[in-house]
Symmetry: C2
Subunit: 251 residues, 2 copies
């Protein structure tokens, strides 16, 4: 059986998704839970990595098992084993050729930030504090420069070996939610740190340091030195991963 | 000088507001920060206690000082000393007879909950998970039974020595916010655990175990045995404390 898991985690105390030689990762916690449930050492394939400190509302992963546990029962069974900062929201049977990584059509990330002179402890866990003087309406106006199929090599980390830096952004917006602002971006894929550097670049626009037109030009010329900083991981949330088969597979 | 502080804290790792013989409290952290800033051992008066695990968006407290630090500068100065889970949002000069406790006119508490079959790690810190079958519209309809000046002795903990159990509730409502529901209640004061037991009682209504009329009758008859459970502290937030002087005092 090929089982698809939808996984939520608070990334604060994880060294990201992917198993490391040292340190606590989400992939390892879930693989360990599967082992203690089924006795099988499985390889859990995630839709993609998330970095240290990044959270997920709905990361998607899949694994192959010979267990006789009913697909939809994995969720509750794994949750009795998993620690409180990672839980399986849903488990379902998917076709053998489903891959959480390669079958993904698009992903939505959200980045949360709030304007305040002072750190607000009840917001700090999942949001970035920015200067009160930031003009969010300028940022809202500028997000459209990210839209469409473009070469985003300006966001590529120096030294990266990634060859193809063309990605398609289907949607990008900034809205208010729960005393904070959310930058929401949906694309067919993202380069390493791309969303966090998009936010850093939008903040340059909000600070009046660059215009929307300059940001557009930076993307077109691929000038890595002119993009904004990579903002803190804690504000980033993998919100959703969309697949063609988004309904339960009736095997 | 009499200084009023507006204080935000993440209550997760605190044994509540009030200083205890053992354990970490908000009052002690702020008093320690004032001592390291001014060298003075002050007595910080809070608008009221909050329990272990309860958070505050805007707890209010005051203290007397002979320091020459400008009133509005205390906030930033204390924040450089305070740990990340408690910060002073505002500091201001108030008249000598201002007491955070006795001058308070009304307080608003919020209780956050969400409906889900599974624990959602990114919501768990500040919200209670409730059964998916709960009918929130029934709860929304029932909140009005709390309104007005009433004897709330049904919410009094057994063995409590509190004499006057009459309180006035000015506003009570349940609304959706950020994937959760918020029970918001404003009153001139609250008995110990009153808000959390109000929520437990509303959940009985949402579960169909009692009707709105029964809840009203429980309050009228003061029958402590029939109220709902005291729900977990983590969902509770002291949102606001209102005073007559809500603007900065121009000493």
């Amino acid at each position: 059986m090929n089982i698809k898991l939808t996984i939520c985690y608070d990334g604060t105390d994880f060294l990201g998704w992917q198993i490391q030689k040292k340190g606590r990762t989400v992939q390892e916690e879930v693989e360990k839970a599967i082992f203690s449930l089924t006795g099988e050492r499985v390889k859990l394939v995630g839709s993609g990595r998330t970095d240290t400190g990044v959270s997920a509302m709905a990361q998607v992963a899949n694994f192959k098992t010979e267990s006789t546990i009913k697909p939809e029962k994995f969720s509750l069974a794994l949750n009795t084993i998993l620690p409180s900062d990672v839980k399986v929201l849903k488990s379902e049977l998917v076709p053998d050729d489903f891959s959480a990584r390669f079958s993904a059509l698009k992903k939505t990330y959200e980045y949360k930030f709030y304007k305040s002179k002072v750190e607000i402890p009840i917001l700090e866990r999942f949001a970035l504090r920015v200067n009160e003087s930031i003009d969010v309406s300028k940022m809202q106006d500028a997000v459209e420069v990210f839209l469409g199929e473009q070469d985003f090599k300006c966001f590529l980390k120096s030294g990266s070996s990634v060859k193809n830096t063309v990605r398609t952004i289907y949607d990008a917006k900034i809205f208010e939610k729960d005393d904070c602002f959310i930058f929401s971006v949906t694309g067919n894929g993202f380069l390493y740190n791309m969303v966090r550097t998009m936010v850093g670049s939008l903040l340059l626009v909000g600070e009046g340091k660059i215009t929307k037109e300059t940001l557009s030009e930076i993307i077109k010329t691929g000038d890595r030195k002119r993009v904004g900083r990579t903002v803190l991981a804690k504000g980033l949330l993998l919100k959703e991963v969309v697949y063609q088969q988004n309904t339960t597979y009736c095997g």
